[in-house]
């Protein structure tokens, strides 16, 4: 039986078991004189039976699908009298057998291979039959067991809620384990990188030129992995972005929260948030094709040297992109300041702007700082705009009119194209990723801490 058919069958079975459990509970309740004489509501008895029926069967099915290929492979290879010793040789052989069993072998067909392919087909057929039989038996058996256990005294709700809680915990763990998994994979690759390039050179080196010599006698491709220019570039672009986003976003938020009438606010806030919905690629070519040439021409007209890809262009456009982060979060925080504080200040004869400047903003400040730090994380992690507008040259410079490059951009360029995954050039991307991960993690940690402190403010 095919797996989708089996799943559909299981689903039907679960629904039927739910219905049975439910109606049996209702019947029991009727003879006892009402649902309130049951230990739980009838739907919980249905769920209890359905969970017993469906969950173990699904788990079995999942485990079967996960392991059945490996088991079959071992059995097929085990049946062969003479097989290669190396894993790659075995892989090749098994692939041949698989192709043969599917009916499109290219190359010679030996009787030995043919028999192995037949064996494989037989095993697969048996496996799928066994799988269907076992999971359906398990489902039916456990459903019968659960339905028999159902009695008016059984507290089905507690048991169902225990299972639901376990499912919730599993979902939460999945997210956490994914994070840990990503971190570990990046960490191990980084460690491999640091075996060929010392940590101190990576952290403090002032020169970034990730070209490795392919041959021993090659000239000019010594490779330099000093990440300082990348981090200063990131810092500069992010700083320019924040210079744009923080004042504009904050003032927009103050206008929306304190001055705008309800109608203007209902209209303006979603429009502002559209900015956050524009794909970063679009911002990127806006920066590269419109803003960067404009800045270059402007700089030239006042007698300054400017390259056509500049940190300024990327930073300005990135700043525009993160305005809605700052404004939306600040707006929420400012709105959370209790009206009684505003009334108190106005009642003392403050003007509107005094109230905003001296009471509302100080009260909302921790929340605003939290929002700004989240925006900074966003700016540091942004890639597309910088790739397109700031260039690829790893210049160590403080001049925003020169082209710079950032950590994320270098990760992209290191991993794009044909690369061996064991050269320091490629592994450098993981080390950069690790550094970026750590720095945004620290920023997020600070942001969360500030936000938590803010929560304690009034109550």
């Amino acid at each position: 039986m095919q797996t989708p058919t089996l799943l559909a069958l299981l689903l039907l079975l679960v629904l039927a078991v739910y219905g049975t459990g439910f109606s049996r509970a209702l019947g029991a309740a009727r003879s006892l004189g009402g649902v309130r004489n049951l230990a739980s509501l009838p739907s919980y008895y249905g769920l209890f039976a359905a969970l017993w029926c469906g969950l173990p069967a699904l788990l079995l099915l999942g485990a079967w699908i996960a392991f059945d290929d490996a088991v079959i492979r071992a059995m097929v290879l085990g049946s062969l009298p003479d097989k290669p010793d190396t894993p790659s040789g075995q892989n090749l052989l098994y692939a041949q057998i698989q192709n043969l069993s599917a009916g499109h072998l290219i190359g010679e067909k030996t009787p030995q291979l043919q028999s192995a392919a037949d064996y494989l087909n037989r095993l697969r057929h048996n496996s799928s039959n066994l799988q269907a039989f076992l999971s359906l038996t398990l489902a039916v058996g456990l459903a019968a067991f659960a339905l028999l256990r159902c009695s008016p005294k059984l507290c089905a709700r507690e048991k169902v809620e225990k299972v639901l809680r376990a499912i919730l915990v599993a979902c939460a763990c999945a997210a956490i384990f994914t994070t840990v998994g990503i971190l570990l994979s990046v960490l191990f690759e980084s460690l491999r990188f640091f075996q060929s390039v010392p940590v101190s050179e990576f952290l403090f080196g002032l020169h970034w030129s990730p070209q490795m010599a392919l041959r021993a006698d090659q000239v000019g491709s010594s490779g330099a992995f000093g990440a300082v220019p990348l981090f200063t570039g990131t810092l500069m672009v992010s700083a320019i972005a924040m210079f744009v986003a923080v004042p504009v976003g904050l003032m927009a938020a103050i206008y929306l929260a304190e001055y705008a009438s309800r109608r203007v606010r209902a209209l303006a806030k979603p429009i502002l948030e559209i900015l956050a919905g524009v794909p970063t690629v679009v911002y990127g070519f806006f920066a590269a094709l419109t803003v960067a040439p404009f800045i270059r021409d402007l700089a030239t007209s006042v007698g300054l040297q400017a390259s056509s890809e500049s940190a300024l262009a990327a930073g300005l456009v990135m700043g525009i992109m993160i305005i809605p982060f700052v404004s939306s979060l600040s707006d929420d925080v400012i709105n959370a300041v209790p009206q009684s504080l505003r009334d108190g200040a106005l009642g003392l004869g403050s003007t509107r702007s005094e109230t905003v400047r001296k009471v509302v903003i100080p009260a909302a400040l921790p929340g605003i700082v939290g929002g700004v730090l989240l925006a900074v994380s966003r700016a540091i992690g942004e890639t597309m705009i910088v790739v397109m507008a700031a260039g690829l040259a790893a210049n160590l410079t403080a001049n925003p009119l020169e082209s710079v490059t950032t950590v994320t951009v270098q990760i992209v360029t290191l991993l794009v194209g044909d690369q061996e995954f064991d050269s320091p050039k490629t592994l450098a991307a993981f080390a950069l990723g690790l550094m970026l991960f750590i720095s945004t993690l620290v920023l997020n940690f600070i942001a969360l801490h500030v936000v938590k402190k803010y929560r304690e403010q009034y109550d």
Partner: protein
């Protein structure tokens, strides 16, 4: 409102009153005209025919009242009768509520309170307000009290400011409790202390009138007694209008009491008269606890 609709509403009110039995007093009685002594010789605050609407709903119907110098006027009445709304007209705090319209003649020392040329900032500096819920700013105790004098430029030097802060806290009866922790946040004080801090904050700008909107509703009896004492002391220098749900409090602190009912000012009289020998049957019904 036209005569016809007025008659119709009076009829439905009467019909409802019959159905409700006990509440008949509340609805059948004539509440269109204020009885008692709403007007006085020398008025600090003078209100004539004040109407307040929130959108389509009229909250205050043609209220006229005088409040004199060095006088405490208590405003009592069932919830939703418009006492707080009326109080908030006096320093234009209703301006902050969208859709609120105020009509009528209101003046402070003969100068109009509403009008195109009136600046609310100096008005609110002259008419201070203490709110129902203590609302100290999330700043230090010192900064809370110094806030008003700072924005109005009352004190130019630090020493002057220190003096104003100490003086205000003294008068609010809070100085001895907080003198050692002026730099601690005002939000860390107890409820009663916070309310006294708010009173200190209000008197630090030396207003002429203080409006109090149920200042003791969130406080325990001890803190309440402390604040009532304070109101009595403050009367020597200020004009005070206080909204309260506690009739005992009204009786204890005020010289005149105004009874509001469904947006109408029913009766204004000397406090003693109101509580011993009310003129209007609605007032009598309310203070004897027959409804409210």
């Amino acid at each position: 409102m036209s005569t016809m609709t007025l008659d119709a509403s009076a009829r439905t009110e009467a019909a409802q009153a019959e159905l409700l039995g006990v509440e008949s007093v509340a609805h059948s009685a004539e509440v269109r005209k204020t009885v008692g002594r709403p007007f006085i010789e020398i008025a600090k605050l003078r209100m004539r025919d004040v109407n307040v609407c929130y959108g389509e709903i009229q909250a205050i119907h043609s209220v006229s009242l005088d409040i004199g110098c060095n006088e405490v006027v208590a405003m009592i009445g069932p919830s939703g009768c418009g006492k707080s709304t009326f109080l908030r007209c006096l320093n234009r705090m209703n301006d902050t509520i969208e859709g609120c319209r105020v009509e009528g003649e209101l003046s402070l020392d003969g100068e109009p309170i509403y009008g195109p040329k009136v600046d609310v900032v100096p008005l609110r500096a002259r008419v201070g307000m203490v709110f129902q819920k203590p609302n100290p700013f999330p700043k230090s105790i010192y900064e809370n009290v110094a806030y008003g004098p700072k924005i109005h430029g009352i004190a130019s030097r630090r020493a002057e400011l220190d003096e104003i802060v100490e003086n205000s806290l003294h008068r609010a009866g809070l100085w001895n409790e907080v003198k050692d922790r002026l730099n601690k946040p005002g939000t860390g004080l107890s409820g009663g202390q916070q309310q006294r801090l708010c009173i200190a904050r209000a008197i630090a700008v030396s207003p002429e009138v203080i409006l109090m909107d149920e200042p003791c509703s969130a406080l325990d009896p001890i803190a309440t007694a402390r604040i009532e004492e304070l109101i009595d002391e403050l009367r020597a220098n200020y004009t005070i209008a206080i909204v309260t749900h506690s009739m005992q409090q009204a009786a204890r602190v005020s010289q005149r009491t105004a009874y509001f009912h469904l947006g109408h000012l029913v009766e204004v009289n000397d406090t003693e008269t109101v509580f011993t020998n009310p003129e209007h049957e609605l007032t009598e019904a309310y203070i004897t606890g027959r409804f409210g």
